[in-house]
Each structure stands twice: as structure tokens, then as C-alpha cells.
């Protein structure tokens, strides 16, 4: 009994140590199976050879009304599949969601509940209960059931500078 208890105790200690390291240096540890890489681009309409086309540029100059594309690239760097991969992205307060997309769910209550925008309502001090609008969205959430080893992809949303 004592021996077994000691083994458990030892395991527990090691586990605690790992947890402590994880908390202290979450960005540096090598055990993460998935790497995330965030980027932002600004959407501009430019005229090239007399034709208008949308181009995405590094945002050197952003003003209210500009359209931004925030992207998060993911990649399963491990040799094991990853399950229930859920990416949550709080919207920066200075932007509003430009358009909804079937690929993600949204929250209009600070991330407490998620769903399709069309199914969500909001309680407005002036208008009472009303349907939620893209401008009400506070969080976006993508859910991927499984990512195979080596699999990668990009999650993105479009937003407008308020």
C-alpha cells in the first residue's frame, strides 16, 4: 500500500511540475500539438488596367470604415490526431463583424453562448428584444471535430473598423 501510494505521490509531483512549467511558459513548450499563427490584412479595392479588383495588403494605414481580414492559421505538428479542436476569437472592441459565415458560430453576449447569428437575439435598452446584428457580435468560434497529423488550414473572419 505504502509503495503504491508513494508511486502515486511521485506521479502527482511530476504532473504538478509539468503544469507549473506550462503556466509559466505557455508559448515556449514543445508539447503543443497545434500551432496557431494570427495575421491581419486590410482589404482595398484598386484599379488595375481599368478593372477594379480587391487586394489584401499589410495594414499600414487603417481608418474607420476600412475592412480587415483576421486570419488564424493552424497546423497539427504532432504525429497524433487532435480532437474537438475549438478556436475562440474575441472580436477587438474597435471592429465589428462584416459578414457571417457558415464556418463559425458567433456570440453576442461576451462569449457565454454561441450560435448562428440569425438565431440570436439581444436585449436593447431602447428597442427591447431584437434580432442580433453583425455589429453585436463579441466572439467568434470555430469547431473542428478532428485534425489529422500534419493537417493545416486557415480560419478567417472579415471585420470593419468602427
Amino acid at each position: 500500500m505504502n509503495k503504491v501510494a508513494n508511486i502515486f505521490k511521485g506521479l502527482f509531483s511530476v504532473g504538478s511540475l509539468c503544469a507549473a512549467i506550462l503556466i509559466a511558459a505557455p508559448a515556449a513548450h514543445a508539447q503543443e500539438a497545434v500551432a496557431l499563427d494570427g495575421k491581419v490584412k486590410v482589404e482595398r479595392v484598386e484599379t488595375v488596367d481599368g478593372k477594379e479588383q480587391t487586394v489584401f495588403k499589410e495594414p499600414t494605414s487603417v481608418v474607420p470604415g476600412d475592412k480587415l481580414v483576421f486570419s488564424t492559421a493552424y497546423r497539427n505538428t504532432s504525429t497524433q490526431p487532435v480532437d474537438n479542436f475549438v478556436v475562440t476569437n474575441p472580436l477587438p472592441g474597435a471592429v465589428m463583424l462584416a459578414e457571417t459565415d457558415d464556418s463559425f458560430e458567433v456570440s453576442v453576449d461576451g462569449g457565454a453562448t454561441f450560435g448562428a447569428l440569425a438565431d440570436l437575439t439581444i436585449t436593447d435598452a431602447e428597442a427591447g428584444q431584437r434580432a442580433a446584428k453583425p455589429a453585436d457580435v463579441t466572439h467568434i468560434r470555430w469547431t473542428l471535430a478532428r485534425i489529422a497529423p500534419g493537417e493545416e488550414g486557415v480560419l478567417e473572419y472579415h471585420a470593419i473598423v468602427r
Binding site: 508559448a27 481608418v63 480587415l68 475562440t88 476569437n89 477587438p92 472592441g93 474597435a94 463579441t138
Partner: protein
């Protein structure tokens, strides 16, 4: 605003947005605001539940230069003399604090006359009415005080009419407001010229706006007609010694507006003598003495101070003389 403070403000804004999703600024987020985006993921792997954060991407909001101007006068402002006030409102529709240069141009195509610009003043006490000596007059080359985003400033343009205008003439005065940072075609960038060193970008207004205020010449003129009726001692109307002549002076104010200090005077003709106590204004008797009432009369002549005369009104003075 420093970057650190902006970050703090942004964090607070997020919390407020949750409660009031409609709190978005009418003219957009303030210049210098940082837009920071971080995604986080949870998943299950062989090692159990895991959490990972992405890097944070940050974009700084530049200063948008925009302005709007509107006249505050309900219609054409009557002008008859100096000190005529046209009222405008200048609004900073950009997203950063900005001052504006104001230029008043009295020469607008289609004008019957061009007014003289005497001064441009700002509504220092904020009551919407020009108060001489209280509201600050902008000196040559002065711009407005710095206006916060969405802040509006009432501006007065004080004008006088040129000589030789006639009643009913119309004129317009153009007031132009330009962002002091710069103006240009929308999208023009002034590197580092914005609030807290961000770039300033010309917005859809071209960072300038102008509008016209209207003037309507409101000038009153006075026409004076004199007539005489003679009553001789024999019941006739012969101008014989002893006959009484009643003179009637009618002053008619024409045009629009008012005249001030309207005064009707006349001399007693040679060979006649003023009949004491016969002076009237609009059928009301006036004493001959130089006293509180509007008129006085003597052997030399009569003098009636009507005061303010309103367009469309008649003022009638009568007095009698006896032929010597």
C-alpha cells in the same frame, strides 16, 4: 493619448460593448486606438485537454480628417448696416482632435452685392448668439480651438453692407473650414501628422467643407410730401393778410425694415407768423416748448423727432401760420 492609455481604454471599451453594443462612436473609433486580435484554441490530444493562444496581431487606427459645416440661419439674414451676423456650425466629423482654418468669402457668383467681412468669431460662451466683447474674434491666421471628434462649434461671420445697395438685393457669404493638418483628395496620407504620431488620412469630405449664408438688403427710405390749406377771414381760401395757412407734412417710410432717428423739421415762411399751440403729430397735439414730448415750435420753425420709423407707416405733422 499615450499608447498605454489607449490599450487601457480599449480593454474598458470591450467591457462596455458587452453591455451596450450600440455605443460605437458616430465618427468611428478614436485615432490612435489599437486593434488587437488574439485567437485561442482548445483541443484534445493524446496528452489530454490542451489550450493554445495565437500570437496577437495589432493594427493602430489612423486619424481620419473630416469636417462638416452648416448654416444656422433659418433664412436670409436682413442687412441694413454694420454688425450683421451670419451664424454657422462647424463639426469635426473625423476621429481625432483637430482644429480648423476658417475663410469667409463675400464674393459668391450671383450676388447683387458683396458684403464686407468685418470679423469671424467663435461662440465662446456657447449660447448660439453673437455677444460682442464676449465671443472671441479670430485674428488673421488664427484657426478654431481644437475640436474633439463629433464636437461642433458655432461660428459667427460679422459683415457690413457696401454703399449703394438697394432694398431687396440679395447676397451670399461663403464660409470654408479646412483641417489644419491638411486637406486633399480622400485617401491622402500625412505621415505621422495625426494624433499621438499616427498617420493622418484625408476622409470623404476632403478634410474641408464650405457652405453659404444668405443676406437680404433690408433698407427703408423716407418720402416727404408737404401740402398747404388756406382759410381766409372771410370764409374763403384767399392768401390775404390774416388768413391761416395749415401746412401738412407726411413722411412715408418705404422699403423694408426700419429707419431710426426720423426727424421732421420745417421753417416758418417769411411774411407769416406761427400760430402758437397748433403743432400736431399724427393728430395728437404737441407743446411748443422744448420738453418731454416729441415736438417743439417757435417763430423760427418746427422740429418733430418721430424716432424709429417702420416701413409702410406714415407720419403726419401739421402746424398753422398766419399771413402777416
Amino acid at each position: 493619448m499615450t499608447n498605454a492609455r489607449t490599450k487601457l481604454a480599449l480593454a474598458t471599451t470591450t467591457a462596455i460593448l458587452f453591455a451596450m453594443p450600440h455605443a460605437a462612436h458616430a465618427t468611428g473609433v478614436t485615432a490612435g486606438t489599437l486593434i488587437e486580435n488574439t485567437a485561442s484554441a482548445t483541443y484534445e490530444s493524446g496528452a489530454g485537454p490542451q489550450t493554445v493562444d495565437s500570437n496577437t496581431v495589432t493594427v493602430t487606427v489612423d486619424e481620419l480628417l473630416d469636417v462638416a459645416i452648416a448654416t444656422q440661419d433659418a433664412g436670409a439674414v436682413p442687412i441694413s448696416g454694420s454688425g450683421t451676423v451670419l451664424t454657422f456650425e462647424v463639426t469635426n466629423t473625423g476621429n481625432g482632435p483637430e482644429a480648423f482654418d476658417l475663410t469667409a468669402d463675400p464674393a459668391v457668383t450671383g450676388n447683387d452685392f458683396d458684403a464686407t467681412i468685418d470679423a469671424i468669431a467663435i461662440d465662446t460662451n456657447g449660447n448660439g448668439t453673437y455677444d460682442p466683447g464676449v465671443d472671441t474674434i479670430l485674428g488673421a491666421g488664427d484657426s478654431t480651438p481644437v475640436l474633439d471628434p463629433d464636437e461642433a462649434l458655432t461660428v459667427f461671420v460679422i459683415v457690413s453692407p457696401p454703399a449703394g445697395i438697394t432694398d431687396g438685393d440679395t447676397s451670399q457669404v461663403n464660409l470654408l473650414a479646412e483641417a489644419t493638418t491638411g486637406t486633399g483628395t480622400p485617401g491622402t496620407v500625412f505621415t505621422g501628422a495625426g494624433e499621438s504620431g499616427v498617420d493622418a488620412v484625408v476622409g470623404s469630405s476632403s478634410a474641408d467643407a464650405d457652405t453659404n449664408g444668405s443676406l437680404l438688403a433690408s433698407l427703408a427710405t423716407v418720402a416727404l410730401v408737404k401740402s398747404a390749406v388756406i382759410a381766409d377771414p372771410f370764409g374763403g381760401s384767399e392768401a390775404v393778410p390774416g388768413a391761416v395757412v395749415t401746412y401738412t407734412l407726411v413722411a412715408t417710410v418705404q422699403g423694408s425694415g426700419t429707419v431710426s432717428n426720423l426727424r421732421i423739421t420745417d421753417v416758418i415762411p417769411t411774411g407769416t407768423t406761427y400760430s402758437a399751440g397748433t403743432l400736431t403729430l399724427d393728430a395728437a397735439g404737441l407743446s411748443d416748448a422744448d420738453d418731454a414730448d416729441a415736438g417743439k415750435a417757435s417763430a423760427a420753425g418746427i422740429d418733430v423727432l418721430v424716432g424709429t420709423g417702420t416701413a409702410g407707416a406714415d407720419y403726419t405733422v401739421t402746424f398753422d401760420v398766419t399771413i402777416d
